[in-house]
C-alpha cells in the first residue's frame, strides 16, 4: 500500500530530511512540502493526502491550530513531528496517529508507518479534538495576518477563493466556508456567504428573492431561499 503524504515544517532542511527518510520507506509518496500553516492548509484542501507529517512549532499558526482550520471531511491522518516534547505529546495521542521526535530515527518511523497503514485499513477515525477558531489566518503582502473572528462581518467565496470581509478591509484566506461554518459562530445565509450574527444590522425581505442582510457597516449580503428557514431559526425570528 502506497500512501500520499504532505510534509509541513518551517525549516527547509527538516523537510528535506523528512522527505529523505520517507522515500527510504518506499511506501510513501511525498506530494508536497510546505513551510507554513497557510501553505499546509492549502495543500491539504487541494491534494487530500492520506497523511501529514506536521511540525508543531510553526511561525504564526502552530500545528495544533492548523488542524482546527481543516474541514473534517478532508482531514488526513496526522503525525506530529517536533524537536522537543514540551507539549507532553501523549496528551494529544488521540488527536494523532503518532508523534515523532527530531532527529527522526528510521526504525521509529517504520513503526509509525505501520500505524498509519493499520488505521487506514481498519478505517478507524481519528478522534481529533478540534478547537473552535478564534483567529483566521490571511496571507498578506509578506506575512500571515491573523484576523479575530469577532471582527469579521461576513465571509464570501467565489471562483478565486475565500474572502473575509471586515468593516474596513477585505482579506483572502485559505480556510474553507465549511470550516468557518463548523468552527466559528458564523452561519450560512447563502451558498457562497456566511454571516456573523453579531454584525447583522438589518434583514430586508423583498418579493423577488429571499432577502438581504445589511451588516453593521452597511454591506449587503444575499440570503438564499434554501437557507432562509435555518437563518430564521438561528436568529429566533
Amino acid at each position: 500500500m502506497n500512501l500520499n503524504a504532505i510534509i509541513i515544517d518551517d525549516e527547509y532542511n527538516a523537510r528535506e530530511e523528512m522527505e529523505f527518510l520517507l522515500k527510504q520507506t518506499e511506501c510513501i509518496n511525498v506530494l508536497e512540502k510546505c513551510s507554513n500553516a497557510v501553505e499546509g492548509i492549502k495543500a491539504i484542501n487541494s491534494l487530500h493526502p492520506d497523511v501529514i507529517f506536521l511540525d508543531i512549532q510553526l511561525p504564526g499558526i502552530n500545528g495544533f491550530n492548523l488542524l482546527s482550520m481543516i474541514d473534517v471531511s478532508v482531514l488526513p491522518r496526522v503525525v506530529f513531528v517536533t524537536a522537543y516534547d514540551e507539549y507532553a505529546l501523549e496528551a494529544f495521542e488521540n488527536d494523532a496517529i503518532d508523534y515523532l521526535l527530531k532527529p527522526v530515527d528510521k526504525l521509529r518511523l517504520e513503526k509509525t508507518i505501520d500505524k498509519i497503514k493499520n488505521s487506514i485499513l481498519q478505517n478507524s477515525n481519528q478522534k481529533i479534538n478540534l478547537m473552535p477558531l478564534t483567529k483566521i489566518p490571511s496571507v498578506g503582502a509578506n506575512k500571515v495576518k491573523l484576523i479575530d473572528v469577532n471582527c469579521i462581518e461576513y465571509v464570501h467565496s467565489d471562483e478565486t477563493g475565500v474572502f473575509i470581509i471586515c468593516a474596513d478591509k477585505k482579506y483572502f484566506t485559505v480556510i474553507t466556508l465549511k470550516v468557518f461554518e463548523s468552527r466559528t459562530k458564523l452561519f450560512r445565509c447563502h451558498k457562497q456567504y456566511l454571516i456573523n450574527p453579531d454584525k447583522i444590522d438589518e434583514i430586508i425581505f423583498d418579493e423577488n428573492s429571499a432577502g438581504k442582510i445589511k451588516t453593521t457597516s452597511q454591506h449587503l449580503i444575499p440570503i438564499s431561499r434554501h437557507y432562509l428557514k435555518e437563518l430564521k431559526e438561528e436568529l429566533g425570528i
Binding site: 525549516e11 532542511n13 530530511e17 511561525p59 524537536a83 514540551e86 521526535l101 527530531k102 506575512k143
Partner: protein, 557 residues
C-alpha cells in the same frame, strides 16, 4: 556677704519652686510652646506669685529690700515674650511699689522695664526661628545681667538725692547682679533639662515605635507601591497622634490618609517644595506650625499646618518620603520627629531586604532561565536535525555547523561569569546566527554596524542572544519574504547603545509572561547600572522592531 548669702537662699527657694513647677502639667505648656490666652494666664499667675514671694523673701538692708523678685520677671519674659514679661513685671512692680520705701518708684518701674526687655529678647529669638535659645542659661544670664544694669541706671535716674542712690547701688549692685543673673540662668538650665527630659520621654514611646515597626514589617515584602504605602500610612495614623500621614516615592504621592485626604490625592505628583527639598537633599524637613507654617500647596483651606518630612533611604539612595502632618493649632511633638526617623529607617531596611530578596529570586530565576532558555531544547534538537540533513548533501557544511553549535553551547555551559565583554557577546550571538542562517535557508540577512572601540565594554553575560533570538523567532521567522537583522553598537549621548532591529515589526508585548528573555536582560542591567539603563523595545508595526540596550558609558561594573 550677708546680702549674697541671703540672695542665694532665696534662689534656692526659687529653684525648688521651679523644680516643682517643672513637674506639674503646667510645665507641659512650656513644652508645647502653645501659648493660648488660658495658658498665658496660668503662667502669669505662676510667675507673678513667684515674683511676689521673691519680694517677701528679700532681706531688708538699710531700708532696701534686696531680693530676687526679678528672676521670676526675667523668666516670664524670656519664656512668654513681651506680653507676659510686661504683665509679670507690672504686677511685681506695683506690688513692690505699695510696700513703700524711698526707692519704691524706680524699682517698680525697673521691674516693668526688665520684664519688657526679657520679653523682647524672647521676640528677638522667636523671629529668628531660634525660640529654643531662650532656654539657654547663657542667654538668660546675659539678659538678666543687662536688665540689672538697666535697673541700676533707672534707680540712679529717678532716685533723689543722687548720692543716696549711688551709695545704695554700691552696696547692692554686685550681689544683685550676680545672684539674679546666676539665678535666672540656673532656673533656665533646670527648665531646659526638664524640657530635654520631656523629649526623652520619647524613649517611653519606643514601645509604640516597636508596635508600629511590628505592624509595618511584612507590608513591604513586595516593595513600596500604592497598596503597601496606604497600609503603612494607615498604621502610622492609627498609632500616632498626627493629623495626617503621607507616603511618597520620588515623584508621586503614593498614599495620603487623615485630615485633608479630600484634596491630597494618591497618584498625583508631589506638590510641596519641602518634600522636593527633602528628597533632593536627603534631609529631614520640619515645619513646626508655629515659627514656620506648612501651607498646603493644593488647598488654602487645608487644616494642616505643621509637617515633618523624613526621607526614606535604601542605602544612600532616597526612594521617597514619609510625611507626618499636624493639624493647625496643635503642637507637633518633637517626639514625632524621632518616630518618623525610626519609621523611615525601618521602611528603608525593609525595602532593602525586599530588594535583596527580589534580586536573589531574580538571580535564581535568571539562572534557571539561562539553563532553560539558553539551552533551548528545541534549538538543540532542531539544529542537530538540520546538521543530519545537511550532512547527507554537504558533510563539510555539517562540520562547520557542528563547530558553531559547540561554540554556542560551550559559552552557555561556562556560566560562571556574570559579566562579559561586548566582543564575547557578539561571538556568542554570531555562533547562534550562523546556525539560524542555515536553518532559515538564506531567509536571513544580517548587517553588523559595530564601533570597534567598544569591544571591551562590560555587559551582563547573555544580554544579546535573547534579544537576537526574539528578533528571529517572533519577528523574522513570521516573514514570508527575506528577513533582515541589523545589529548596531555605538556611543550616543554619553551612553552606549546597542540596537537589534528586525524588519518584521511583529513584536507583541507579552504581559502574561514577564521575567523571560528580554525582561531578565533588562532587570540585570538595571540592577547593575541603575534604572535609567536597560532594554527598551519599540515596534513600528509591520515595519520594524528595535530592541535597544542602553548601557552607561563605561559599561556595567
Amino acid at each position: 556677704m550677708v546680702i549674697l548669702t541671703s540672695l542665694f537662699k532665696e534662689i534656692a527657694v526659687f529653684l525648688v519652686l521651679a523644680y516643682l513647677f517643672s513637674k506639674t502639667p503646667i510645665f507641659k505648656l512650656l513644652q508645647t510652646n502653645d501659648f493660648k490666652f488660658k495658658n498665658y494666664l496660668v503662667l502669669y499667675v505662676f510667675f507673678s506669685s513667684m515674683a511676689v514671694i521673691g519680694t517677701y523673701l528679700g532681706e531688708s538692708i538699710e531700708g532696701v529690700i534686696v531680693n530676687n523678685r526679678i528672676i521670676a520677671v526675667m523668666i516670664a519674659g524670656l519664656i512668654g515674650g513681651p506680653v507676659l514679661g510686661l504683665a509679670v513685671g507690672i504686677t511685681a512692680g506695683i506690688h513692690r511699689y505699695f510696700l513703700g520705701g524711698f526707692n519704691a518708684l524706680p524699682i517698680a518701674i525697673s521691674a516693668i522695664v526688665e520684664g519688657l526687655f526679657a520679653g523682647l529678647v524672647n521676640q528677638y529669638f522667636s523671629k529668628r526661628r531660634k525660640h529654643e535659645r531662650v532656654f539657654d542659661p547663657d542667654i538668660a544670664f546675659a539678659t538678666t545681667l543687662i536688665s540689672e544694669i538697666l535697673q541700676m541706671a533707672i534707680i540712679i535716674a529717678i532716685t533723689r538725692p543722687i548720692q543716696e542712690s549711688i551709695s545704695l547701688i554700691k552696696l547692692i549692685i554686685v550681689p544683685m547682679v550676680i545672684s539674679n543673673s546666676l539665678g535666672t540662668a540656673l532656673i533656665m538650665s533646670l527648665f531646659k533639662d526638664q524640657r530635654l527630659n520631656y523629649d526623652k520621654i520619647g524613649s517611653t514611646y519606643s514601645k509604640q515605635a516597636l508596635r508600629i515597626a511590628k505592624r509595618i514589617l511584612g507590608e513591604l515584602s513586595k516593595g513600596l507601591n500604592n497598596n503597601s504605602a496606604e497600609r503603612i500610612a494607615n498604621i502610622l495614623l492609627e498609632e500616632t497622634s498626627v493629623g495626617a500621614v503621607a507616603i511618597t516615592d520620588r515623584e508621586n504621592i503614593l498614599a495620603f490618609v487623615g485630615i485633608g485626604k479630600d484634596h491630597h490625592n494618591p497618584g498625583s505628583p508631589i506638590a510641596s517644595d519641602i518634600t522636593k527639598v527633602s528628597i533632593s537633599e536627603n534631609r529631614i524637613m520640619f515645619l513646626d506650625g508655629k515659627d514656620e507654617c506648612y501651607q498646603c500647596p493644593i488647598s488654602e483651606d487645608c487644616l494642616l499646618s505643621s509637617v515633618l518630612v523624613v526621607p526614606m533611604r535604601i542605602k544612600d539612595e532616597v526612594i521617597g518620603t514619609i510625611k507626618l502632618y499636624g493639624k493647625k493649632n496643635k503642637y507637633f511633638f518633637k517626639i514625632n520627629e524621632a518616630l518618623g526617623k525610626g519609621i523611615a529607617e525601618i521602611v528603608g531596611n525593609q525595602l532593602l531586604a525586599a530588594r535583596y530578596e527580589y534580586q536573589k529570586n531574580l538571580l535564581t530565576r535568571a539562572e534557571l532561565n539561562l539553563i532553560q532558555a539558553q539551552i533551548k531544547p528545541h534549538f538543540l534538537f532542531n539544529t542537530i536535525n538540520t546538521i543530519i540533513a545537511i550532512n547527507r548533501r554537504n558533510p563539510e557544511k555539517a562540520i562547520e555547523l557542528l563547530i558553531h553549535l559547540s561554540n554556542f553551547f560551550r559559552k552557555i555551559l561556562k556560566r560562571n561569569e556574570d559579566i562579559s565583554t561586548i566582543k564575547e557577546e557578539l561571538e556568542h550571538v554570531n555562533s547562534y546566527l550562523e546556525i539560524e542562517k542555515v536553518r532559515l535557508q538564506n531567509h536571513l540577512k544580517i548587517n553588523f554596524d559595530v564601533d570597534e572601540n567598544l569591544m571591551d565594554i562590560k555587559i551582563p553575560t547573555f544580554s544579546f542572544q535573547p534579544l537576537v533570538e526574539n528578533a528571529i523567532k517572533h519577528g523574522i521567522s513570521n516573514l514570508l519574504e527575506k528577513g533582515e537583522l541589523d545589529i548596531r553598537i555605538f556611543r550616543k549621548d554619553g551612553c552606549i547603545q546597542i540596537d537589534i532591529e528586525d524588519n518584521a515589526g511583529t513584536f507583541v508585548e507579552n504581559k502574561d509572561n514577564p521575567g523571560l528573555g528580554v525582561n531578565i536582560v533588562d532587570k540585570r542591567i538595571k540592577n547593575l547600572a541603575g534604572s535609567e539603563y536597560g532594554v527598551k523595545i519599540n515596534c513600528d508595526s509591520d515595519i520594524k522592531t528595535v530592541a535597544t540596550i542602553l548601557l552607561p558609558a563605561g559599561g556595567v561594573a
